[in-house]
């Protein structure tokens, strides 16, 4: 198996999941990952010598996803299925994890904000790493994350997330 093929095998899942969460659309995610891998393949001799080829691929992917946002926004709204009702959860946070409200709020975030949240809370990148991936400053990452979290909190406002203090 070629080195590039091994790279695809190892990272296609992560790339696909990341694209899916940023675009919120499975078909668009597939297109973007395919496009990303074509780009990586064309530059493979150089990419393969990098310390973190996967980070480079993710940077291409995330920026493709963000750049494509306005172009595909209308179609995405048309195709996006409405999330079903929450299923019962066994997590210690009760029903919060499965709240359709949160999913709807995530789906409604601007793509740049959702990308930051995906990089921070799905890919577990630091703010500095997220900034490198997005090609922006750490301050921009912080502000986008803050605005995104604020909108999510607002979507979940009926829940006791806002309370913060100890519960009686």
């Amino acid at each position: 198996m070629s080195e590039f093929k091994q790279f695809v095998v190892q990272h296609v899942d992560s790339l696909l999941r990341t694209a899916y969460l940023i675009t919120w659309d499975e078909r668009e995610a597939e297109d973007l990952v395919q496009e990303c891998l074509f780009k990586v393949a064309r530059r493979w001799p150089r990419v393969s010598s990098m310390d973190q080829p996967a980070a480079y691929a993710r940077r291409i992917l995330v920026n493709l996803a963000i750049d494509a946002g306005p172009h595909r926004a209308r179609r995405r709204r048309e195709l996006e299925p409405v999330l079903g009702a929450a299923e019962p959860s066994s997590d210690p946070l009760g029903l919060l994890h499965d709240r359709a409200d949160l999913m709807e709020a995530l789906a409604g975030l601007p793509r740049e904000q959702r990308a930051v949240l995906v990089l921070r809370y799905f890919n577990d990148l630091t703010e500095a790493q997220a900034a490198t991936t997005l090609g922006c400053s750490e301050g921009t990452v912080k502000s986008r994350a803050s605005r995104g979290l604020t909108r999510l909190r607002e979507a979940l406002s009926p829940l006791p997330i806002e309370s913060g203090g100890p519960q009686p």
């Binding site: 999941r17 078909r27 597939e30 891998l37 393949a41 494509a68 809370y121 799905f122």
Partner: protein, 267 residues
């Protein structure tokens, strides 16, 4: 406060990511991502072998601009349509000189367009090329054109395409320019309700067409042919196998209906 929300967020992302169809991964794994290395877009090759798809009066011209390397002729091409840059469409329309397009498709620096009842084809600076079999003069009914940094091409056909039925597309020949390695174009009518149209190619790639106003267009570098098409309508997404290039129009497609040089695909 944020810790709780972040925990919920992580969990929600995992849950959402877990909903991905495993077939998507399989398709991505099956694609041949190796870069193409052979590109030929030489006008002299056009006259000899480039017009096999001229059964309906097709004229197809491709030309290289000044001194491009063949490998870079399609640099920047995208398998999916990309946002239009300011002035890109207007510049392409001006260069194509086929009239007002009914559909415009942009892929990186390339602009392609479909024309209904276009003006007779005339690419400035190029000699007229005879079609095979020679049919001119004819009044073109459909035209397509694309313009890029180093390559431009135009085609017209003398036969009109019937309107496609709801949820269907009309597929004509998969036209390609002269040599064995250049570009392949698919365009035609799309029926009501067709919101997305994708094609699987013989090299494993998947390309997405631009669909608008009852028309579609997609093109790709090189000579791989489309082996299947995926049509999305509000009722769902269905995939149809396509006949080999040489058999398009012969009615051999199991899900297709033949009408001379045109086949209908879809339900």
């Amino acid at each position: 406060m944020n810790d709780l929300l972040e925990t919920i967020l992580r969990d929600s992302f995992e849950k959402r990511a877990g909903q991905l169809d495993p077939d998507v991964r399989r398709r991505l794994m099956a694609v041949d991502y190796r870069p193409r290395t052979r590109w030929f877009l030489l006008l002299p090759a056009l006259g000899a072998a480039g017009l096999a798809a001229a059964a309906v009066g097709l004229v197809l011209l491709f030309t290289l601009g000044s001194n491009p390397s063949p490998a870079s002729a399609f640099a920047g091409w995208s398998p999916t349509p990309t946002p239009t840059r300011p002035g890109q469409t207007a510049a392409a329309i001006a260069k194509c000189r086929l009239g007002r397009p009914v559909l415009v498709d942009t892929r990186g620096p390339f602009t392609a367009a479909v024309y209904a009842n276009p003006k007779p084809l005339l690419v400035p600076g190029l000699p007229r090329v005879k079609s095979s079999p020679p049919e001119p003069p004819f009044k073109p009914a459909i035209g397509s054109c694309f313009v890029g940094p180093h390559v431009s091409g135009s085609s017209t056909t003398g036969a009109g395409l019937p309107r496609a039925g709801s949820g269907q597309i009309q597929l004509t020949e998969q036209t390609e320019s002269g040599g064995a390695q250049d570009a392949t174009v698919l365009d035609g009518r799309s029926g009501a309700g067709v919101t997305r149209l994708r094609f699987d190619l013989s090299n494993g790639r998947r390309v997405t067409a631009t669909v608008a106003h009852g028309w579609y267009l997609v093109w790709w570098p090189g000579s791989p042919h489309a082996t299947a098409t995926e049509i999305t309508t509000p009722e769902g997404t269905h995939t149809y196998e396509l006949p080999p290039t040489a058999e398009v129009g012969a009615g051999s497609c199991g899900s297709c209906a033949s009408a001379g040089p045109v086949i209908t695909v879809g339900r």
